[in-house]
């Protein structure tokens, strides 16, 4: 096992897949010659050449349109949208074209493509470069949605996403790029759609995603030590497919669920999960379902303001304590 950063795991996964399959190609803005603005794709152009790893103009609709057209004619393209906020300039290609065309054509076309994007806040980039938009994607039928929390999952899930025959939106949390973890040596693939139970507890199930996972783990430590509350922590890892089995199993046993989302309050994945539990697991519940989210505001830029509004271990602890006590 080697220690890789979350950032390095991105290029490791792409390289792993490009080596085994010549139909994998990769494009994006400043990704090739310069290795990406987050340095996530350094070395790829050197290894795979300027035909397979290619810089594009600032034309997100063209980038993703081309990705779609290539996927439906035999390639397995990977595209980068530099910041997930920029999905807004090419959302038609994602939500109306890529997501719907297989269904509309009654299965005539297949779209084995991956769109990677740096997602989320915590780095003082302001409201147009800090959004967590995985819920935008989750709301669209036809998209798979993955958001890893550690380098090992970045490598394994990105590899699986590239092999997957369906379109996958792969959200890399930019506040995690520097985080290092053990990543298995050799080929590493983690199947999509399996949540990971990071910790088992009796009193409450905390469900988190991406950057919220380390915060939930931190909160669980504090809950144990300072409040004697034993929490399960689940890293959802993928929103579509959604591993309700793992979540339900845990919530059935603890009787309580707290979701921790970075996205603004309304219509996040936490709401969806909460509504599923409230419908299907109602009689197992021992108390309200609680959601911890960023408030329903754009993210402010100043460090103190941003820290004040993002979910924190402290807020998670407070919510759990209130629920369980």
């Amino acid at each position: 096992m080697a220690k890789l950063s979350y950032r390095e795991a991105v290029s490791a996964a792409i390289a792993q897949e490009m080596r085994r399959d010549s139909s994998v190609i990769f494009i994006g803005e400043d990704v090739a010659a310069a290795g990406g603005v987050f340095k996530t794709t350094e070395g790829l152009q050197e290894e795979f050449g300027p035909i397979r790893v290619r810089d594009t103009p600032i034309s997100e609709q063209a980038i993703l349109g081309a990705t779609m057209g290539a996927a439906m004619t035999g390639l397995r393209p990977v595209a980068e949208i530099m910041f997930s906020d920029f999905f807004a300039v090419c959302w038609d290609i994602v939500a109306n074209q890529i997501a719907k065309t297989r269904y509309m054509t009654n299965g005539q076309c297949t779209f084995p493509l991956v769109i990677r994007a740096a997602n989320g806040g915590g780095v003082r980039f302001g409201a147009q470069h800090s959004q967590s938009v995985e819920n935008w994607a989750m709301a669209i039928p036809g998209l798979k949605v993955v958001a890893p929390s550690c380098a090992s999952d970045v490598k394994g899930l990105l590899a699986a996403a590239i092999r997957d025959p369906d379109p996958v939106l792969f959200f890399e949390q930019k506040s995690l790029y520097g985080r290092k973890d053990e990543v298995p040596d050799g080929e590493h693939v983690v199947p999509l759609g399996q949540a990971k139970v990071l910790r088992e507890g009796d009193d409450v199930t905390i469900v988190a995603l991406a950057a919220m996972v380390p915060k939930a783990q931190k909160a669980a430590d504090v809950l144990q030590v300072e409040h004697g509350i034993s929490a399960s922590v689940i890293d959802l890892r993928s929103l579509v497919p959604l591993d309700t089995t793992t979540v339900f199993e845990s919530v059935s046993s603890t009787g309580r669920m707290v979701t921790v989302e970075e996205n603004p309050r309304l219509c996040g994945w936490g709401a969806e999960l909460s509504s599923l539990v409230a419908e299907e697991l109602f009689w197992d519940l021992e108390g309200p379902i609680v959601r911890v989210t960023t408030p329903h505001i754009p993210l402010p830029s100043a460090d103190c303001l941003e820290d004040a509004v993002l979910p924190s271990p402290g807020k998670i602890v407070a919510s759990v304590v209130e629920l369980v006590d």
Binding site: I25, I51, R54, T56, P57, S59, E60, Q61, A62, I63, L64, G65, A66, T67, M68, G69, A70, A71, M72, T73, G74, L75, P77, D92, I93, N96, Q97, T101, R102, Y103, M104, T105, N106, G107, Q108, C109, T110, P112, P141, G142, P165, D166, G193, V240, P241, L242, D243, T244, T245
Partner: protein, 333 residues
Amino acid sequence: MKKEKNGVPDQDTRLKLFELMLDCRGLQQRAFDLFMQNMVKGTTHLGMGQEAVAAGFGAAMHPDDYTFCTYRGHNHTLVRGVSMTSILGELMGRDCGLLRGKGGSMHLTSVEHGAMGSYAIIGAHMPIAAGAAWSAQYRESGQVAVCFFGDGTTNIGAFHEALNFSVIWKLPVVYVCENNQYMEYTPIGEVTAVKNPAADRASAYGLDPILIDGNDADVMYSHATAALEKARRGDGPTLIEALTYRHGGHSRADPGKYRPDEEVEAWKKLDPVKTYRQRLLEAGIAESILEELESVSNQKVDEATETASNSPPPPLDIAHTDLWADGGASWRN
């Protein structure tokens, strides 16, 4: 407007062009009739009057080339060899439909014929066509992608992005603007900063301006051939503006009242099917041959109507299939 034809197509090709136009015209007339009989639900956008554009390309393309077209895509889909039954069936929401009713009139697609889809959001298919061309280039397959769109489409962002992108990567793609003078109801001249919405913008992408008579199947054919060859040679994209006119309204039962009568009349005189028939006669092709083609085409339309009308509605469970490559539509375990 360039009228010269880089030589006249041979007689077989000309008969083929005529046949394709007849099929397009007949199919669409029938689609209109079925709509008026409430047999076609939802909406449908006819390309009557614009048949020469699709026919010219249909006759010139290789079977494995790709077409990308719009909601007004019946002509373009038919000329790739897709059956009339499956097109009418789709319009009528029947099980025999090309997409078994899941797509509808605006989304005709037949991958086996290289008809890579009809797209209902203006401009979206232009970068997608670039992607298919990029794939062909990467795979060195020799295929070309042809992308049809309207005059109104030249004012949306995707047009601009797709053209720039295609040129810098020298992609084997041909962009064909069917300038039928109107967006839905608004004359294109009222909302466009240049006179010829595509041709006057070619230079913004380092391309030659090509403005041609879109009602002349011979002209369309020769320009199609040239553009396809250029793409196959590795010399990159072509942007063609073909001047034409739709005989009817924008969609459904739109009577098209926003257009002056004289304008409609003038263009109807330039009907691509009628004028081409006259030209073939003048070129010495016997009336009987043309009549035979017409009767065969009519018969195909009748038979397709019959078959499609007798096809049952699709089974309801297909609504839950083929969202994913595994054939299903489930989002959870």
